[in-house]
């Protein structure tokens, strides 16, 4: 088992953990973090799996770079939205009590 494959498997585990958090956590920021965890896992899988085969491979690296930027953009956007949401409603989650309030 090459280290690359190990990276990939670690990515898999990260995905699992992230998914668990994403599904279960209600606090918006935590959920966002879980999302980032999944993202990291995916990127690890992407690179690890490809490099396990080809050795250092610039294409997945570039892809991951792009993916990271996208993820950052999304994360930043989400944080802005969450902040404003919190500012307006005082809620940190989208649960039902929030719905009742509005």
């Amino acid at each position: 088992m090459s280290p690359d494959l190990l990276y990939a498997l670690a990515g898999v585990v990260l995905c699992g953990i992230g998914l668990f958090g994403f599904l279960l956590l209600e606090h918006l920021l935590r959920r966002l973090l879980a999302f980032n965890l999944i993202g990291s896992g995916v990127f690890l899988v992407l690179i690890g799996l490809a490099q396990h085969r080809n050795g250092p491979d610039p294409v997945p690296q570039a892809l991951v770079l792009t993916g990271i930027v996208v993820a950052i953009a999304a994360t930043a956007l989400a944080v802005v939205l969450i902040r404003r949401y919190y500012h307006l409603t005082g809620h940190t989650s989208l649960a039902d009590d929030g719905e009742a309030q509005s």
Partner: protein
């Protein structure tokens, strides 16, 4: 009780997912086909205008991805500032007057700018590039913001917006210039690839830094409301 059940079920599902995924990864790793892509890439690297393969992929072979990616970033920045409608994005309440911080900043800010410049330049042949540089740039801004330096330029005026969109716009102009020159969309005219990529990288750095910074400082201080749809003209 229900909550526990839910917890357990989710845990089981996620574990199952992880195992299945791991199996798939192992299987894929075992069954991987040899790919011709690395050789193709190596063969084409010479005509890409940059030496570093990752940058070549990013800004030449798959530059459409990058263009759109910058678009995504612009969107995020835009939405960020759209939610803040005060004249300045800077909140005076956060301005600090700690002299130690101030002194530190006087050292750090120029250093970080220098680092950003280096990263940008390094992108041509080693890890680095516009995004890394931009990120450092943005970090500089964040530092300045946290340190309480006045930052009048992140007003949501036309200047900020111009800054946000500058990198994207230049990239796009280059892209369409290639098309107008009779090449494909996004294709660089022969021989000009290196220079164009550098230009793009520079403006991208600026824009990326600006966007990230704008996102950071976009404060939800507006209490103005969009009336509910149908609530009256």
């Amino acid at each position: 009780m229900r909550r526990r059940l839910l917890l357990f079920l989710t845990l089981a599902a996620c574990a199952g997912f992880t195992v299945a995924l791991a199996a798939a990864v192992l299987h894929a790793a075992g069954a991987a086909l040899p790919s011709a892509l690395p050789e193709q890439l190596a063969a084409s690297l010479g005509s890409s205008g940059v030496e570093h393969p990752v940058t070549a992929v990013l800004l030449n072979f798959r530059n459409y991805d990058t263009l759109l990616e910058i678009g995504v970033l612009v969107i995020a920045g835009m939405v960020g500032i759209s939610l803040a409608s005060t004249s300045s994005l800077e909140d005076p309440a956060l301005r600090s007057s700690d002299s130690l911080l101030y002194a530190l900043q006087r050292w750090f800010v120029p250093l970080m700018l220098l680092l950003a410049l280096y990263l940008l330049w390094a992108g041509a042949d080693r890890p680095g590039g516009a995004f890394q540089a931009g990120a450092v740039l943005a970090a500089t801004g964040v530092l300045m913001r946290l340190g309480g330096l006045p930052m009048e330029f992140v007003r949501p005026g036309v200047l900020l917006r111009l800054g946000l969109v500058l990198g994207f716009a230049v990239f796009l102009l280059v892209a369409v210039a290639g098309a107008l020159a009779g090449e494909a969309f996004l294709a660089y005219p022969p021989g000009m690839a290196g220079g164009l990529i550098l230009t793009i990288e520079i403006v991208l750095t600026l824009s990326i830094g600006m966007i990230l910074l704008a996102l950071f400082v976009a404060a939800p201080v507006s209490d103005e409301h969009e009336p509910e749809e149908g609530a009256g003209p």
